[in-house]
Amino acid sequence: MRSPDEKKTKVTSIRMTEEQHQRVQKQADSHGMTVSNYIITTAVHGENHITPKMMVQLQNITNMATDAVQEFAPETINKMQKEVDKLWMLLK
């Protein structure tokens, strides 16, 4: 059950030109999002250029690097993950 805090209870209508609407719709489609969710996500995280998708890719690269160095330089694994963890923190 979704918590009351996460229920979307506010409704705001915004005016935009036909061209702007088309661009927003196109962007939303390319992200597999509704126009509403796309606008909320980009507005809420507008100043943050790090996205979950980027962090997932970075973590996967780190996992591959971890597998590669595990045998020869295991001491670097924790250092590497700590640096990636700092970037995860920036997602917030």
Binding site: N60, N63, V84, W88, L91
Partner: protein, 165 residues
């Protein structure tokens, strides 16, 4: 026949997510035959939990269903660990473009199956924040994919865990 069980617990909350990740990482002290992650650090249950949580927070969806837990019990014709582990990796790729996952392979004689895989998927997509759709229709498509990997017929079942809060 590969038996695919989908476990859903919409009331367990964060504790259920933590428990599931710990179980996959370290089943009662038993090291799994294989363990890997997509978009999470599989070396640490706490890291996996926090990374899945970070994605939920980003999209404002921290409550409700926390994860989808799938168990794939391989047909008894799968007799070696290497094949079972390879199947687990291939099968988990089905979700990789949308969801963080952690997957492992266990060896346990269950009568009709010697090896099985656990796949834990975050309930929130890291690409667009959409919730995981574990409807029978969607999971039947997943079964088709499992069949394409293992070549075995598949059987799908659901297990809902509903506790009163």
């Amino acid at each position: 026949m590969d038996v695919i069980k989908v476990k859903r617990d919409i009331t367990g909350g964060e504790k259920y997510l933590k428990n599931a990740l710990t179980y996959v990482h370290d089943k009662n002290g038993e090291i799994p035959l294989s363990l890997s992650g997509n978009g999470v650090n599989p070396a640490s249950p706490q890291s996996m939990y926090e990374q899945m949580r970070d994605v939920k927070e980003y999209f404002g969806k921290t409550s409700g269903n926390q994860l989808v837990h799938m168990i794939v019990s391989y047909d008894k014709s799968v007799q070696d660990a290497e094949t079972a582990c390879r199947y687990t990796e291939e099968i988990a790729k089905y979700f990789a473009n949308d969801f963080q996952t952690v997957q492992c392979t266990h060896c346990e004689n269950q009568g009709n199956s010697l090896y099985h895989a656990h796949i834990i998927a975050n309930s929130v997509s890291y690409t667009n924040g959409m919730m995981f759709n574990s409807s029978p229709q969607n999971m039947l498509q997943f079964c088709d994919y499992v069949h394409s990997v293992t070549g075995n017929p598949t059987w799908l079942s659901f297990e809902a865990i509903n506790k009163k809060m």
